[in-house]
Amino acid sequence: MHLAYPAVLSALLFCTGLYGVLARRNAILVLMSVELMLNAVNLNLVAFDVWLSRAAEETLHSGQALTLFTIAIAAAEIGIGLAIVLAVHRNRGTADIDKLRDTAEGHGTDTPETEPGTEKAEATA
């Protein structure tokens, strides 16, 4: 099989996930897009491992081992990420990442909040 097929599919999937991360507003949809990007990387790892195990007689199978590690880390990431999203939803009542602007800077509409007293209240709230 030509190596360009899995490599091109992996690049397209990665850019699809990139679009999803940048364009989505719901935090869980952003997590789905992150999963897409991780899967694109996994496909690349598997394809290059299968290629190198023949072409270079690489016997470590490092690509497949790293793929398994990536899958496990992605499972841990999705668990922690969902826990964070649920905590945010419980505290704020929304899972909308556009509304979580507490640490945002440099917006003209937020200028009344730059008083020292309210800043301290915001930091501790």
Partner: protein, 241 residues
């Protein structure tokens, strides 16, 4: 001992062999070509089209639950691609972990955050066009570079499977034991962290708001005298807490 050998093998052999054999391999496999694809390539292309289309629907649909279900199609298509690349163990791990557990977790997350059933018009944020430009530019650059770099490279899929369960298990437990064990510690840490994050801490939630309210009360005379909008702000935040 295997760890001491591993860098030696990869550093010493891999560049030498690939550099020496790459022209030889392409010359020996000259009958390959873009215009005469094999059966495996056609199958890979068709499944890849389905996978890419499902991924596009996943990131563009406005129905949140449908996005999770199209993600199942994408991940299942990737499992089929792993099977076509003779990595069967990875394929079944993909089906078990991604399709089995990650998507179920995502669906539970959607339900627990009270995602709307049906169309939600605010699924995409305002910077959709900037994101589209960035993604298309990245895709064009990546596809161009990748196709140009691996134009004369073929994967040899004949012979014994490179990713059979036996080969994967042997390499995993001969060469990758220490990262494997470290990964189990990471999974334990993630488990504990998820429990700590998602539990309703009553005794801890009582102490920081008292502290915060004290700070707001102490700073309230300053804000009351200055601006009525500012005074409404801490109260609003306490309401949303």
């Amino acid at each position: 001992m295997t760890f001491a050998q591993a860098p030696h093998v990869t550093l010493a052999q891999a560049p030498h062999v690939t550099l020496a054999q790459a022209p030889h391999v392409t010359l020996a496999q000259a009958p390959h070509g873009f215009l005469s694809p094999t059966g495996v390539e056609i199958a890979f292309l068709l499944v890849g089209l389905v996978t890419f289309g499902a991924a596009l629907v996943t990131v563009t649909t406005r129905q949140l639950v449908h996005a999770a279900l199209w993600l199942v199609v994408t991940l299942g298509g990737l499992a089929v691609e792993y099977l076509l690349l003779t990595a069967e163990f990875i394929a079944w791990v993909q089906v078990l972990i991604y399709v089995g557990s990650v998507v179920v977790l995502l669906l539970f997350g959607l339900m627990l955050t009270r995602a709307p059933i049906g169309r939600s018009p605010d699924a995409d944020s305002g910077n959709r066009w900037a994101a589209l430009i960035v993604a298309v530019a990245a895709a064009a650059a990546l596809v161009w570079v990748v196709v140009d770099a691996f134009r004369t490279t073929w994967i040899d899929l004949d012979g014994p499977a490179a990713g059979s369960t036996e080969a994967t298990g042997a390499s995993l437990f001969q060469n990758w034991v220490l990262p494997f064990e470290a990964l189990s510690v990471l999974l334990l840490a993630a488990l504990v962290g998820a429990i700590v994050l998602s539990r309703k801490a009553k005794e801890e939630s009582s102490s920081p708001p008292v502290n915060a309210r004290g700070v707001t009360k102490s700073s309230r005379p300053v804000t009351e005298s200055s601006d009525p909008q500012v005074r409404a702000n801490p109260a609003e935040q306490e309401g949303t807490r």
